[in-house]
Symmetry: C2
Subunit: 87 residues, 2 copies
Amino acid sequence: MFVILVYDTAAERNPAVLRTCRQYLHWVQRSVFQGELSAAQYRNLSEALRRQLDLSYDSIRVYAIGSPHLVQIEAFGAELGHSDSVL
Amino acid sequence: MFVILVYDTAAERNPAVLRTCRQYLHWVQRSVFQGELSAAQYRNLSEALRRQLDLSYDSIRVYAIGSPHLVQIEAFGAELGHSDSVL
């Protein structure tokens, strides 16, 4: 499946959350990861995030679509995904 | 089409960008809007944003999927979409 993940987490948890997301997905814009995952990979990512998040404060939103061919992507402005500056 | 829009814009442009996005989409998490748009509405939104953004600094990423039925959504933590606190 094609996955879009948008995170809004407290600054002190950002490095751990980013590290977890990067194990599974590509960072494409500040707050946004995307990539293709199997159902098992998605389950592992989801469980890892639940352990790291403070759900009373942090928010993560995940959109899953059956195939990347069903998704059109338009990017305005600079893509940031290949920078390591926040880690 | 079902649209997911993630914005990363300079603080001074945020109010205008949020106002434009809210004319077309629902705010569902910090940085994230979603909703259903016709092709004409999407074109209008896209043109309005291009006029407002500084593309050397701001980034907006838009994912368009043919139908909301093709998208599974999972939200971890609080949804913020119904707050007006940032405007």
